[in-house]
């Protein structure tokens, strides 16, 4: 339990734009996240937080440094292994929801199981139904994304992210496209997942009141972490 679920040491990412010009997006980032933590990642655009999230999500590889996720060394994997880890260990929630259009909610949710394989049609449907119920969308299984509100779409995306029992949930500005009411709803879902189901959440946001739902705040600037501190829990004052 004391072994961190994410263990990052001196992570560097250099984008080579041409022979002479290269961009140092991450300049040695070290971060440990324990199981069950809810971390908010903040920073201005260009601070390196997106690059960091991509590496965390196995969508990109670091130039150097160490990244261990749930006991798996993430620095020396091929594309297929990375795809498998994305499938099994990571749940993604994006700003733009990224659901497949013209596809019912339940089919969006069960899709990671398709790529994992080994489930019957019935098992996949049952599991997807259960997760939709968990995010409060019972009865909306056959709704297409365009028939759902932004908040509901994001909840479908959360259900999809959770269907393979991932080690971590990566949320990239999950409320960036939502209004206050829906933001509040989604953050409540996150809080519940974190507190009741002990799901580790890493969330990028630049809204301080969204970050306030997390336990810990990590601030990026110029490819480095400049602040890493716990968030004092003010009691939920907003209604």
């Amino acid at each position: 339990m004391n072994i961190p679920i994410i263990n990052i040491e001196n992570l560097q990412k250099i984008y080579k734009i041409s022979q002479e010009v290269s961009v140092h997006a991450l300049k040695g980032v070290t971060l440990k996240v324990k199981r069950g933590e809810f971390v908010a990642i903040m920073g201005a655009s260009g601070s390196g937080k997106s690059t960091f999230m991509n590496i965390l999500g196995f969508l990109d590889t670091p130039t150097s440094g160490k990244y261990i996720l749930d006991g798996i060394d993430g620095t020396s994997l091929n594309d297929n292994q990375k795809a498998e880890i994305r499938n099994r260990k990571i749940g993604f929630v994006f700003q733009g929801f990224n659901l497949l259009s013209r596809t019912p909610a339940i089919e969006n949710v069960e899709m990671p199981l398709f790529y994992r394989g080994g489930f019957t049609h019935e098992e996949m449907k049952n599991r997807a139904r259960k997760l939709l119920a968990m995010v409060g969308l019972s009865g909306r299984e056959m709704h297409h994304p365009n028939e759902l509100s932004g908040g509901e779409q994001q909840r479908v995306a959360i259900a999809r992210a959770l269907i393979n029992d991932p080690a971590i949930l990566l949320a990239d500005e999950p409320t960036g496209n939502l209004d206050t009411k829906n933001t509040y709803e989604i953050m409540n879902v996150f809080t519940t997942l974190n507190k009741e189901y002990n799901i580790t959440i890493i969330m990028v946001t630049h809204e301080p009141d969204v970050a306030a739902y997390a336990d810990r705040k990590v601030v990026f600037k110029d490819g480095m972490i400049i602040d890493d501190s716990p968030i004092r829990k003010l009691k939920k004052s907003r209604k």
């Binding site: 969508l59 790529y115 394989g117």
Partner: protein, 392 residues
């Protein structure tokens, strides 16, 4: 990802764009149905030709000349001098004669022949008899009619014993021939009146010219040799030295080969058209799949983010294109069989149902899907997950 899941994914994607999927398949549908029609017609035609040439006479040859007149003596001598000759008959033809019976009339082909003609063609009678030797030598006005003539002018009456008027000359019907059917080109073999050649020369044509002599030999192996011998004999008999091609002898084998050549050429032409339309259909699929890949870049990114491997994306798009071409193939096969059936029905050819041609064209359609779907699928699979996700 197992195959069932891939198939479900591909079918779901295709069903999201039904109209486009159907339109994309049309090229393949046309290509496959023309392959089916072409193979079918090729086979039907070949069988029809073989049957028809078979009735023309086994081991038969036809002697014709350019300037020199063939004579009765030629026909007789050929029969006498060559022991391998089984049958020989003078043939005098006139393509359009008017045949009247009571108030009914029809236009038929006239053949002036000897009795050997019927034996050579293995052409039996349904009623009556052939010519007698006396009728032959006295140029009697007797006629053996074909089945079509009987149907046209006698309808339900018994023809034998009645008098028909051929080009204003009365002939007594002595026999009715069994039905042979139509030729490859649609010529009706049964629309004929057959009379003794002497009667044809004197009563219908009005001169003593002999158009052709039909000869048949006992064995297939004697054909080539006999052709040469008869040519040589005729040249000598007519004292021709300079031009050895004065007499032209065509064998039934040559006719069969010619008919086969024609039907093969026709088949190849159709095969060419069919493969062009399959190719165009394939390019259509490739085009749509490329559009689809760039339209769905984001979807591909999402799929990759939630765990699709390169292989999964490649398979998904390949299955989509193969499904398009395979379904197109099935529809094309059905359409092709219907068209082929209608054609054989209209021209009255045998309908040959070939499982091989159906399987071959289906597999070919699928192969087109794989071939033309591979490049777009590879393009999709080669996308980088982050870039695909960021794509607007």
């Amino acid at each position: 990802m197992d195959f069932t899941n891939l198939l479900i994914t591909a079918l779901r994607s295709l069903s999201k764009n039904k109209a486009r999927s159907i339109l994309t398949s049309i090229g393949i549908i046309i290509g496959v149905s023309s392959v089916i029609v072409m193979i079918g017609i090729g086979r039907s035609a070949q069988i029809t030709v073989e049957e028809r040439v078979g009735t023309y006479g086994k081991n038969a040859m036809e002697i014709a000349s350019f300037h020199t007149l063939l004579t009765e003596a030629d026909a007789e001598n050929i029969k006498k001098k060559f022991p391998q000759v089984q049958y020989a008959s003078i043939i005098i033809t006139k393509s359009n004669v008017q045949v009247n019976y009571k108030d009914r009339s029809t236009i038929s082909g006239m053949y002036g022949v000897e009795n050997d003609y019927f034996k050579m063609k293995l052409w039996p009678l349904t009623s009556g008899r052939y010519f007698t030797d006396i009728e032959m030598s006295t140029h009697e006005k007797v006629v053996v009619i074909g089945a079509t003539v009987m149907r046209d002018v006698f309808i339900y009456e018994e023809p034998v014993g009645n008098i028909v008027i051929i080009n204003n000359v009365p002939f007594k019907v002595i026999g009715v021939l069994s039905e042979l059917g139509e030729s490859f080109g649609g010529k009706d073999f049964d629309n004929v009146v057959v009379i003794p050649y002497g009667a044809a020369q004197r009563k219908i044509i009005g001169n003593n010219k002999i158009d052709r002599i039909y000869v048949s030999v006992y064995s297939d192996k004697q054909m080539d040799e006999t052709v040469e011998q008869i040519k040589e004999y005729l040249n000598r008999a007519h004292m021709i030295t300079s031009d050895s091609n004065e007499f032209r002898i065509t064998t039934s084998k040559q006719k069969l080969e010619m008919a086969e050549y024609i039907s093969k050429t026709l088949s190849m032409l159709l095969a060419g058209i069919a493969s062009i339309s399959l190719f165009v259909g394939g390019v259509g699929i490739m085009n749509i799949m490329l559009v689809s890949v760039s339209e769905r870049t984001r979807e591909i990114g999402i799929r990759m983010a939630i765990g699709a491997k390169r292989r999964d994306i490649l398979s998904q798009f390949l299955i989509e294109s193969v499904t398009l071409s395979g379904l197109g193939g099935i529809v094309g096969i059905i359409l092709g069989l219907v068209i082929y059936y209608l054609i054989t029905y209209i021209v009255d050819w045998p309908y040959i149902f070939s499982v091989t041609s159906i399987l071959v064209s289906f597999l070919f359609a699928c192969a087109v899907g794989i071939f033309f779907g591979y490049y777009p699928a590879k393009k999709a699979a080669d996308l980088k997950p982050i870039e695909a996700l960021r794509y607007e």
